[in-house]
Symmetry: C2
Subunit: 978 residues, 2 copies
């Protein structure tokens, strides 16, 4: 049957919409579903699903259906989104506090933010097909290193608050003599302090918050000091000379952590030049919209001596097999999935897309452009100060970059009248107290905006309005010489070349052309759920009504957002079977940490604060033990059987052994081996019987929707990865959203926020800087859920199961599939074990992965959760054609392997060991070819590759060389010309 | 100096905006400009420009400056565009008359319409680097052939009106015995009739408009009949069985031309099945926004026997040198630049981008989806009819697809009250007369829209409102069996595969990856001005306030558009030095035709209708003589000297010889040889002295802005290509906008429109279907002009001149540059002659062009205006780096040529003759390589190619084979599986 029908073609009434999203989201249509079912030996989807999922945990059809979650067509969704958007009021906010109105260069907006080739790829674990975004992330690191004057920087963290918490943890673990007091200056952002409070508790760190000089004077503080956190400039705009203070901290071996602002650093002496050990902040004002709080890329830099303790992903330079410069993720041993319970950070998904936007912003503006922008912002701030002083206001901070703390005590009406006047002009200023008003300027102000702002202060002081002809530039300097930057910024060629839009466009497209993403082929990464990220769900995201809202804007301005977020929370509760939800965590790992912290608070509320044991199966994702440790829990591993199932005996034994101190059990379901195993409810019961709570890692929720749910399985709390199951694109390594859903008894403990009311009445402190985390991209998941509706959601999960089982079926006989359920079925992903080929042919998992690149596929997840295996997850969005193409490639590779096994190809020089084969290898002269196979066999092993070939741009990358010669910035002028 | 500055870096005040567009639009910065000037031996830009442009025609600095055209920064532009947008009121229009509310699939909007990789390439003259959009255009042709059931279809025309005019011209020239009456049914769209009136006059065709059956009964008509034009369904919605009528037309050897609607053809018997010879229409309702009239892709199909007379571009299948299927422009001999004055069509730029959108819409929906949409639209129309008949209305047309002519004579208040009620609900209906109201439904209606529409009629008839539960589907058929379609639509695999968004996204990106565009490299096509198409100028285009407006919407709803279009007209007049402007023509060629028709009307108004001689230099673009012929003029060629300059003696002699009948002189300035020659004012004076008017072809206006202008040169009228000089992207072969500007005495004759007042008080008839042509993309040029401002515009022209002269300088000594002015300078482009290499090495222009592809460049314009030459135009947007890269490539190729000249490489088997070298050639086994050079030399002749390589996807294409075996649709199921 050649004529393709639609995925959900059904008899429908004339009055039903035609632009139903399920038809477009789900790959296989009804005929193809039938075909796959029949290959597997089922005559209905229901009988198939019954075989894959144990009966005891199945849900009734109606729990997730169009009754509980009605579906909207694509055009209905746009209308609804528009209606909600119109309930937001995008006032212009000069509130500051870490959030600015960013100006996104249009060429970046269209060609990165709105471009699936940039937003759909996964974290660059396969560097040979990811050199584009690796280069861009190196640009980000280089930019951070240059602006902060630090030795090394990572490729982004989740937000400024959690970055500060990472800094605190690094200070704590670096302090040789178990010192545990961490001093936080009162000038630090309040939301950062809230996140630190949460995190300090887990680690057992003592926070001392106040005037940092005073605190350092206290002997009890000095003797126990592990580090300090400073904000530069501080929340009130003041810029201080900390050099003496730094010396005094270093004198007692404390670590100096500085939160700072990238734009200010183009003019201010960078922390690296006055002794900071760790420098961090938010990069969003470099062209990333404020988006009601996020997502934004935080940055994190440190000194040479701390570099091997740095959290997050670090991109480094290495070389490929032909000696060519190549980028790759460096020091992967630091990643949480290796260090597990020895980790002090659980960061996994971070903010790659936003880091790329910020880096590209710097590429576009360059050193000259950034300096011009900074000078303008500062110049406007000086003009504002001078003008409002004429009206009778005074300014509390004498040294400033872009922020003034305006004192209105000499003005009748004080701060309140200023705010009222501003509000009438659709402007938000920072509310400090009755006399003081905060105002922070940014790149978005045109001269007309400045005049408007001046006249708001004027009008509140009953002065007559000024006009542009009255404005003059202020010569006087408000940055003392010792705080002025004298060192050069961004001398690297990449920041000084692509300044015309044409050049910028070509640079973006040049990088993009090196990367394999969902626009090319299936990215069957197990545990990552790389499904369609639909255009219709992405479009509303960049509307100003969603994009231009300050996270601390008054509630009456964000009614549309609040409704949308509430609807999302409710739908997620419907889907998980839980009672309440928090959208605050910015990644899965952050959700884990939040959930475990909620569990701890729950125990504490019942007088059981001592419960500190967390049972975790050995097969768990590395973030699980890391999160447990961060939440102050002790990890006790639980065995799994040879067939991958949980060892219930071991679980029972350990639960009973730790009965008095049992806090939680963390389990991934279906398991990380890709199977819905029996007995999950029994396992949970064992935990509950022993006083523990069950944390369900929702990474695999795509297998469950409408079929089972975490509550039914026996969980008390779960996180969801909206960037997996709910179609937020992975962004090449982030953003993510990791909300947690909890049972009723845990609802009171959901996280709070210091500036905006969130969470329950016994709320834990904040988990993230913004009250609703990465609010703007929640629009994507909201749209996804609304458009599929309950029926579409559960159909998606069924097809996800079917696609995986169909692959298992096609690969059987070719590859070993050790993990299935009693009925021979896998869940939404499958684990194939390649250990045998190491013995028979000397081949490792990586050899298979690199060879798949030659076939134009992104390799599946490698060597996790079993080191000799590949975890394959197709998702519901892949069509039968694509899945067959993938299976054909796998089977063809198996044939290539047989040649080696049979001795027809040598073990050290063959198609797999030499893979991938980039273009530069194809053109080698015959006397350098030296391979026992032809060029065609290397590049075009299957005929369809002649039509649709993706070329890796480098040969296999030498990780050992890169880790030995760790260089994490882009080449300098000298290197480029040498 | 490595640190790049900005293009227009200058001392500026703190209060000036930083996001100035000129900095981003112009490639070379001030340092680079200085560098280039010094290489050319000038110490200032002014002295350089003085050498390039003759003094007598220079303008004062102030004529195009920030005083006459103030500049807006990018953010100011957005604000202004938003303000104008908000003055448009996007009512929902059910006016029909050829314009519908289209639903653009989001995946197409983002990945084609808003994607520079799709919108920036040029017409696919270089098929080896254009297989993607060639395939897409073949899909368009296939779709048209299938839906109309015709033998062949072209790759789009400008709009339905001009397509009908092309049909009429084909009927006229096909009529063996000089018959000249063309019958037009009164059911044809009024705007089409207006365009036919204009065009008929030029050709001397007699139009007979009325009831076609009646007219055919008249003996005088029958005996002189060349053809008829029918509308199916007609403007009032009626669908008629024309089969008998067709027989009667064929009986007298007349040609049957049918204007039709693609969506209706999924349900109606297609014209090809009832004998039509030519079928045409507008494809916009297949996912192209209405955009206040355009741009839209018209389609044009004809029978086997007429195919070699078909106007426009035709894509055909051929094969490459390795025998692989490859697409290319077929039968290029039909293109106007070859046929010149023997042409009956001047179509050049057409509507490729819009044709691609429509084709992709069909790919996305497929046969099933299109039929579902048609059935829904028709089903809703039946429900509407039934409901309003209940209210007391009657419907005049008994057979219909989507349009009802509603008779309100039995309803109190009649049509007027219906319109008033609709208007209060922000809805436009078609105004026919006091009793009849037209209403046309489309895909965009949701059930709620239908109910709203029904209730408007209800309320106007004082009936009580209906709600959704009252609606029922109507079983009765309103399409008689003999008018129902029974044949299959779109069986080809491409229309039945890519229905999920993931598949669609990959198909779009797969095609895109085959095409070289401005996102990759310079496209230095002489006479085409491939400059930056900035994102900031593209963004407003897709706002609904610009995109969703019916061209016949009442004037009070389009105030924003009117102001914007007026501003554009005024700015274009400032730039050209003329008094008035018409934006109606949809391409340069259409502008030429409009301008010449205006000249004829002017002569006629002075009693000099006999003036019919048009002098045209032999070097003119092929559209010039073709347009002249279409305007009823006789072309007399004027010689040029050996050095490319106009032969003023010959001009004088011919002018005087034809003095009594001299109508016009058409000249391109600077000349098509890329030189500002002296004496243009003298030439124009000769014409004026002999009673003629001067038409200036503005294709080269990019050389002139602010430096000289057509009025100063002596012209009376010029067209501009907004898709060249004013930054509308070329779209891979269109859209275009070709406005004409005229001197005061010609202003009264500017084109009118039958439904919206445009043009002067002695206006000629319409040139295009829509009153303001392709209004929506005029937003791009408006933004471009406003953002550059006068200073930026003239700086752009200066840099365009400089870039071209710098290339001339670098290539001199390597290539022969025959055409320069007396001071040794070229204008904004340069012509290099390659004739010598044919003699010395057997190399043709095409060999150089194909070899440039291997270097990753789009070749310059080839073999025009001189068959042995290349015309190179860099534009101001290309940076010095890119220009140097191009020159390096040209020089390297010259070295490769020397090897052949020196006998070191054979004449028939060398790097140029075998070019381009796609990937499939690179992998040939050694025994098939058979080339006297290495693979590296073939693919990576210069080192930077290792970093930035674009691969042609096929080897050189065999045009002869393709033209002999003309196949213009995509492979069918059978071919795919055989
Ligand atoms: C099973 C599992 N748990 C947790 C995570 C962590 O999620 P995130 O990367 O969003 O922090 C992942 C990530 O892939 C995962 O696969
Ligand atoms: C000199 C000249 N005149 C006229 C035209 C026709 O313009 P259009 O393609 O917009 O019809 C062209 C197109 O390239 C041209 O180069
Ligand atoms: O990102 C993961 O570690 O799976």
């Amino acid at each position: 049957c050649v004529t393709r029908q639609f995925a959900t073609a059904k008899e429908s009434s004339l009055f039903d919409p035609l632009d139903t999203f399920a038809d477009r989201h789900i790959g296989p249509n009804d005929h193809e579903v039938e075909h796959m079912l029949s290959k597997l030996g089922y005559n209905s989807m229901d009988s198939f699903v019954d075989a894959a999922i144990p009966t005891p945990i199945r849900l009734s059809e109606s729990s997730v259906s169009d009754q509980t979650i009605p579906s909207l067509s694509e055009s209905e969704l746009f209308k609804r989104a528009k209606a909600l958007a119109s309930e937001n009021k995008p006032f212009k906010s000069y509130i500051g506090m870490g959030y600015h109105n960013a100006v996104v260069p249009p060429v970046i907006l269209r060609n990165i933010t709105e471009n699936p080739a940039w937003y759909t790829p996964y974290t660059p674990y396969q560097p040979e097909i990811a050199q584009g975004r690796l280069e861009s992330l190196v640009n980000f690191q280089t930019m951070i290193m240059s602006l902060t004057s630090m030795h090394i920087a990572n490729a982004s963290l989740l937000d400024e608050g959690t970055a500060a918490a990472e800094g605190m943890a690094m200070a704590f673990v670096s302090s040789s003599s178990k010192r545990s007091t961490f001093v936080v200056d009162k000038g630090v952002l309040p939301q950062t302090i809230a996140v630190l409070r949460t995190r300090a508790k887990g680690f057992g760190i003592k926070l001392a918050i106040g005037d940092v000089s005073e605190l350092l004077g206290e002997p009890s503080v000095r003797s126990d000091l592990c580090g300090v956190l400073l904000q530069y400039p501080d929340v009130n705009g003041q810029v201080k000379d900390y050099s003496t203070l730094v010396e005094s901290v270093h004198a007692v071996k404390g670590v100096v952590v500085v939160a700072t602002d990238l734009l200010a650093l183009t003019m201010l002496k960078p922390p690296g030049e006055w002794g900071a050990d760790i420098v961090l902040g938010n990069s969003a004002r470099f062209g990333v919209p404020v988006g009601y709080g996020g997502p934004h890329g935080a940055f994190f830099a440190c000194s040479e001596k701390l570099k091997r303790k740095m959290p997050g992903r670090l991109i480094g330079r290495s070389r490929d097999a032909m000696g060519k410069l190549a980028y790759r993720l460096a020091l992967q041993t630091r990643e949480q999935h290796i260090r597990r319970e020895k980790a002090t950070s659980n960061i996994c998904t971070s903010q790659a897309l936003l880091a790329n936007m910020a880096a590209m912003y710097a590429v576009y503006h360059g050193a000259t452009g950034l300096t011009r922008i900074a000078q303008k912002v500062h110049g406007f701030t000086k003009v504002l100060k001078s003008q409002i002083e004429d009206f009778g206001y005074s300014v509390d901070n004498d040294v400033f970059f872009d922020t003034l703390t305006v004192n209105a005590s000499n003005v009748q009406g004080g701060a309140q009248v200023v705010h009222e006047t501003a509000s009438r002009a659709n402007i938000n200023l920072r509310k400090i107290d009755d006399t003081r008003v905060g105002v922070t300027l940014d790149e978005s102000l045109a001269t007309a905006d400045l005049i408007k702002l001046i006249n708001i202060f004027g009008s509140a002081a009953s002065a007559s309005p000024v006009s542009d002809i009255q404005l003059t530039e202020i010569d006087k300097s408000y940055i003392p010489t010792n705080l002025q930057r004298s060192s050069e910024i961004l001398p690297h060629p990449v920041f000084n070349t692509h300044h015309s839009e044409t050049e910028m466009l070509r640079y973006i497209h040049d990088l993009q052309s090196k990367d394999l993403s969902l626009v090319h082929a299936m990215v069957p990464l197990g545990s990552c759920t790389m499904k369609l990220n639909s255009t219709s769900s992405m479009i509303p995201l960049t509307w100003p009504e969603f994009n231009s809202i300050h996270p601390f804007a008054p509630e009456e301005q964000v009614q549309g957002y609040r409704k949308l977020l509430k609807e999302l929370e409710v739908d997620l509760c419907t889907i998980t079977g839980f009672a309440a939800c928090s959208l605050q965590p910015n990644s899965g790992a952050s959700g884990e940490y939040a959930g475990l912290t909620v569990i701890r608070a729950y125990h504490e509320s019942r007088g059981e604060a001592h419960r500190n044991i967390c049972l975790i199966p050995v097969s768990a994702h590395g973030t699980n033990p890391a999160s447990a440790v961060m939440a102050g829990l002790k990890v006790v591993p639980i065995k799994t059987h040879q067939d991958g199932t949980l060892d219930l005996e071991d679980l029972k034994a350990k639960s009973e052994m730790h009965k008095d101190n049992l806090a939680a059990f963390m389990i991934t379901y279906p398991s990380t081996y890709g199977v819905f195993e029996d007995g999950v409810q029994d396992a949970c019961k064992i935990i509950h019987d022993n006083g523990g709570q069950v944390y369900l890692d929702g990474a695999n929720l795509n297998a469950q929707i409408g079929l089972t749910n975490p509550a039914t399985c026996g969980g008390d709390v779960c996180h969801l990865n909206l960037h997996k199951t709910f179609a937020i694109p992975h962004g090449g390594g982030g953003p993510g959203v990791g909300p947690i859903c909890v049972a009723q008894h845990l609802a009171p403990f959901l996280p709070s926020h210091p500036l905006v009311k969130t969470g329950g009445d016994k709320a834990i402190n904040a988990i993230a800087s913004a009250p609703f985390g990465s609010a703007s991209i929640c629009v994507i998941s909201w749209a996804y859920i609304k458009m599929l509706g309950g029926n579409g959601l559960s159909h998606s999960s069924k097809v996800a199961l079917l696609n995986a089982n169909y692959i298992a079926h096609r690969l059987s006989g070719h590859y070993g599939l050790r993990y299935k359920n009693v009925k021979g079925r896998v869940a939404h992903e499958l684990l194939i074990d390649l250990a045998e080929f190491d013995k028979s042919a000397g081949l490792k998992v990586m050899d298979f992965a690199k060879r798949l690149q030659d076939y134009g596929f992104h390799p599946p997840t490698c060597s996790w959760p079993t080191s000799t295996a590949m975890l394959i997850e197709p998702t519901e969005s892949e069509s039968l054609d694509e899945i067959d193409r993938f299976c054909d490639a796998m089977i063809q590779i198996r044939g290539e392997v047989q040649q080696i096994i049979d001795g027809k190809q040598p073990k050290e020089n063959n198609l797999l060991k030499n893979a991938p084969h980039p273009m530069s290898v194809m053109v080698l002269p015959e006397d350098q070819w030296e391979r026992p196979y032809s060029r065609q066999e290397a590049a075009y092993p299957l005929p369809w590759l002649y039509e649709r070939k993706f070329w890796p741009t480098v040969t296999r990358i030498d990780d050992a060389y890169g880790d030995l010669n760790l260089i994490c910035d882009c080449p300098s002028v000298e290197e480029m010309t040498s």
